[in-house]
Symmetry: C2
Subunit: 390 residues, 2 copies
Amino acid sequence: MRSVSIIGCGLTKFGEHWEMSFRELIAEAGVKAIESANIEGKTIQAIYGGCMASGRLIGQEHIGALIADQFGLNPIPATRVEAACASGGVALRSGILAVLSGAYDIVAVGGVEKMTEVSTEHASFALGGAGDQETELFHGATFPSLYALMARRHMEEFGTTEEQMAACAVKNHKNACNNPNAQFQRAITIEDVMNSGYVASPLKLLDCSPITDGAATLILCETEKAKKLCENPVEIIASTQASDSLALTGRKSLTEMAATKIAAKEAFEKAKLQAKDIDFAEVHDCFTIAEILATEDIGFFKKGEGGKAVEKGKTSLDGEIPINPSGGLKAKGHPVGATGVAQAIETFLQLRGEAEKRQVKDAKIGLTHNVGGSGATAVVHIYKAIGGKR
Amino acid sequence: MRSVSIIGCGLTKFGEHWEMSFRELIAEAGVKAIESANIEGKTIQAIYGGCMASGRLIGQEHIGALIADQFGLNPIPATRVEAACASGGVALRSGILAVLSGAYDIVAVGGVEKMTEVSTEHASFALGGAGDQETELFHGATFPSLYALMARRHMEEFGTTEEQMAACAVKNHKNACNNPNAQFQRAITIEDVMNSGYVASPLKLLDCSPITDGAATLILCETEKAKKLCENPVEIIASTQASDSLALTGRKSLTEMAATKIAAKEAFEKAKLQAKDIDFAEVHDCFTIAEILATEDIGFFKKGEGGKAVEKGKTSLDGEIPINPSGGLKAKGHPVGATGVAQAIETFLQLRGEAEKRQVKDAKIGLTHNVGGSGATAVVHIYKAIGGKR
């Protein structure tokens, strides 16, 4: 039975890259990844790239071929995968399945988005295509408003407070202070969040992830080969994906994401693990309420307890289950197509003990959780540090 | 060693669907495919969908989740794949690799595009994203002009004539007269093509494929299981994909597509066949010159002989290698994301002897060839009729 491991990674700084184009971001992340894996580029046999909205944001589709071109890796097959904000996670899963199929032994998985060259209105409209254009965006429901509905309902059902949501932002900014690639490397306070303006009540500016440019690349390798190529590969021991209705109106509940629950349950079954076995997780906190929902739906906390958990510090870097040691989407930044790949990169670094000042102690097993839209796609991966022979 | 077969298919009529939305097209093709395969929808374990430019054309991304939603198949994983006009072919290859990986036994592969709701200028701009936005589209080079450069060079190097290109259009329109799902079910003459206005000299209006709405769905199944589920599955005996530079300026030659040559060569190696063993092919004729290039690059004719071959009737339905019995992109229509899947559907029908008045005699082995952009992605599949046990 084949298995897949990560042997290298490359990440650009996340932020506003006025001096770098879409393809320059791709090239930087790609070259770093190839160097990190200590392989020759020509050993890569295929590319999977996650990108959501390049058509609307920069007028460019056909991103797979563009990546192969930019990496100098023509004529290998290069495939773009799109699943809104889960594009990176789904690209990772596509790369894994391609290796498991036996078609390839070594593939590159990239993610990229260049979002800051257009107006915020234009970017919001492009991002709105992650939800249901006909029943949501067309009527003015941009993403903060969709997540605000979930937040309001969670407050109503479970007594979650705006301060608890703010605590997610404060924690993630604190973690990002130790991440040199993060967009916001500055601490904020609960008061800062509470005093920031409402974007869509109850969500305020500092509850929202930013608009970001960035690219991320992973090198995947069949595990037996990885052990020969690399001293400390990280094995991906579960990869799962689930879907839910595109529109919020099709959901049974506003306070849980069914796709996350199903993908997490299947991932734990495949890895023969439980939520309590996970040492840390990178979860999809496009808004603070999304992190609370994720920690509940994955199973780290009971439904309704996520807000209290973050308030009590249970998800802090030194807490019982550190969540988003990288700073998360909130503070590391959220270049949509790159996010899912960047989550895997953080996990790779943590499990190799290379996360420097934000290192989670004794990290052996990590989990990533990447969401598309308001929850219509969820992707979960579980990772384990393994020894290599190099 | 696992293998993958097709057990069912569904296609909408190709054309201008003023009365049907993007998602209604998907639903029609999906329901037809499930009925054709004679399975219950719930036995489908994952979806791969090809779609190029829904972001620009209808403001909607996250097409995988939308398809799962529209098929009523949540929560199964659903992934959109984009490779410009090769989106459908790459989605098919992704579905094949997913089954080969062992993750699934039965997957649906869909393709869709809704192109006629916007102006021709808007559609041209969206399609321009299939090439290099920075060095081509930004400077006004839309797709007819890129292919016109290739046509002009082919005329210069090999003496190919406008009449020979016109002969592709005449043949494909003739074939489409027998395809009830084709956009243009009417015959045209060489004079009609020669008298149509220049879009980008030497390409005239009737050298160009149209702008089309349409959706296509295939049901793939692991071959051993397929033989139990289906009397006459069609096995996919090779699936290959290659990349080339996104921009024409990066190519070594304007008169051949390196990605097609590589993908075809690898496909023949995998299938242990040669071009002469193929009984018919559906090739990517977005413009008439593209069909000529394809028939040469795949190896049906020597370089420079493709124009003469079509003029002599070698690629007609009763010729030595029938090309585009469906009518091709030229006359069947070209709903970009659906095209690669529709090519596989035509091949499936031909190999089952179900192509009615356009049936290729004694068809045992078929080939499809799907191109993204001006040749930066090429996907080749080879298919064989096999017996089932049902």
